[in-house]
């Protein structure tokens, strides 16, 4: 996995409650056998009109947000289906970070596996960032994972918490499976003792 470096990017105001993964990437795009190429379909049903043209009212179709790297999102972002196609599609569109008050568990997990950083902040902090993002002239926010800091356009800073292990994996671009394989002996002996105690498993 690619390392997650500090970056400055356009933040889009996306204050919708309970955005589900069906909305992020509808089922007709789940038949792919690849991880890439889903960016053009992200939010398909609200992003495009019936004739296939772009819906001008949808925020990610508007300038400058069509080049967004950050979403400032509503509560409970990413609920519903476990499809990892949701973070794949967001990442492929260019989103590297989503800031909200809360995320659904599976989406939250899936994001880290794909170098997409979900940041949880308080409601007041999220609302302040929404106001920052709404300023089309200057919607750029800086994300510094190393120092766990969001830097606002006005120079203000918001600190955030993150699980140290997940932070390390993102910063160093570590592969989970490779890390787990370091415990190979422990896994083997666990499996052997389990098979002795519970042979039908």
């Amino acid at each position: 996995m690619e390392k997650f470096n500090t970056f400055k990017g356009i933040a889009a105001p996306f204050n919708i409650l309970n955005v589900d993964t069906d909305k992020i990437i509808p089922k007709q795009f789940l038949t792919t056998i690849k991880r890439t190429g889903l960016g053009k379909h992200v939010f398909d049903e609200i992003r495009y009109k019936k004739d296939g043209s772009e819906n001008p009212n949808f925020v990610l179709n508007q300038k400058p947000y069509d080049k967004s790297n950050i979403l400032i999102a509503g509560d409970n972002f990413g609920c519903g289906s476990s499809r990892e196609h949701a973070p794949w599609a967001l990442k492929d569109f260019g989103i590297k970070c989503i800031i909200s008050t809360s995320f659904a568990d599976i989406f939250y997990n899936n994001s880290f596996k794909n170098g997409l950083l979900p940041i949880m902040v308080t409601k007041d902090e999220r609302d302040a960032l929404l106001e920052d993002a709404k300023d089309k002239e200057n919607p750029e926010i800086e994300i510094d994972l190393e120092n766990q800091e969001i830097r606002r356009p006005n120079g203000g800073k918001i600190k955030f918490k993150i699980d140290p292990f997940r932070k390390k994996c993102l910063l160093e671009g570590l592969d989970d499976i490779g890390l787990t394989e370091l415990h190979e002996n422990k896994i083997k002996s666990f499996e052997e003792s389990r098979s002795t105690k519970l042979p039908w498993l």
């Binding site: 309970n18 789940l30 038949t31 519903g80 476990s82 499809r83 990892e84 787990t180 415990h183």
Partner: protein
Amino acid sequence: MSKTLYDKIWQSHLINEQDDGTSLIYIDRHLVHEVTSPQAFEGLRLSDRKVNSPKRTLAVADHNVPTLDRELGIKEEDSRIQVEELDKNVEEFQIPYFNMNDTRQGIVHVIGPEQGFTQPGMTIVCGDSHTATHGAFGSLAFGIGTSEVEHVLATQTLIQKKAMNMLINITGNLDKIVTSKDLILYIIGKIGTAGGTGCVIEYSGNALRDMSMESRMTICNMSIEAGARAGMIAPDDITFNYLCEKPMAPKNEDWDKAVNWWKTLPSDSGAKFDKIVDIDATKVTQTITWGTSPEEIVSIDGTVPNPDKISDEVKQNKIKRSIEYMGLTPGQKISDVEINTVFIGSCTNSRIEDIRSAAEIIKGKKVSTNVKALVVPGSGLVKKQAEEEGLDVIFKHAGFEWREPGCSMCLAMNSDKLNEGDRCASTSNRNFEGRQGKGGRTHLVSPEIAAASAITGKLTDPRNVT
């Protein structure tokens, strides 16, 4: 120290724990389907890894499969490629597999229990959020993403952090007319779609002790709609009786050993829960959804809410949007809402008892002329059982279509989908915008309400169909 059911399963699967709580846990069972696995198998190939434990893995094609004319194969090219990819992957990695033409094929969460692959005390995962279904057996079962599917295939473990313990305690008894679907929709309405975030829910109470395994599965299935990673119910004699003759259940002395162990699993008295919610069963009515989130519920004799009465602006906008999308008006009586589609199926409600309950209401009646109605049994074995009981004939006489098993219109990845503006009484689990087809409108209901609604062409209390 007293432990919860979740604590016990977690601790017995813990291989390694870091100081920050990041843990490596062992996975007993892994269910695999065609949609969330191709990239995982590709990952294994690229890194020259093998499947660690094929015997703890079971694969089936369910999301994409056609429910009509199956012998003709899959018409849609992308779907066909995805299923062919699974065929190829299970062969290459030697994974047990029920292919599309196997009688045992069906929805992944129906076949696991049906085969006895699902058992109490296990950790069970699948690249599908409704894996929570298997928690009805007193197992820790949860949905994972494709990267984690690859991780489990390669190592038979997962990196996890322990979730919080949440208890949903159901006091009192349910009215006879109230089903487990009504109960879980009511619970989601009470705690909200993020109510269980970060938690594993244990459901308890006498009302559950009286329930069949199939009803319990309906409840655990929709834990994810309440935001929980998993839902579970302590195993008891009903669980053991359900499992005892299943093909993959332990046999002979192993069975006795297993039951003795399973009996130690229920939460100890005095076990500590981080969150406790009490639900008064006597207050639960026949519940359906009116909107586009599973928490937007209403009693079958209720009305569409009025957004003007909600002070929070974001919530008010969400409700306005739901009403607009659903084509309803505030204050409208739910029983006046006309439907044109009925879907009885999905991992929530496609088991034999669901089909029997719906057939009971349909018997001798006709589907309204304005309604397209289909039954999609959860598995080939459910279908076979229903046919042996003559239930297919009841449905077909009434004007229902009797289909082949699969996920079908629950997520509409195959050709079973709603058209723009269609309104469906559906026994499935998600009513999100476009879930059952772009522009389609979904009301989540019990099999009984789905059946009654098929007859009248409106959302209907089964007691009003005589």
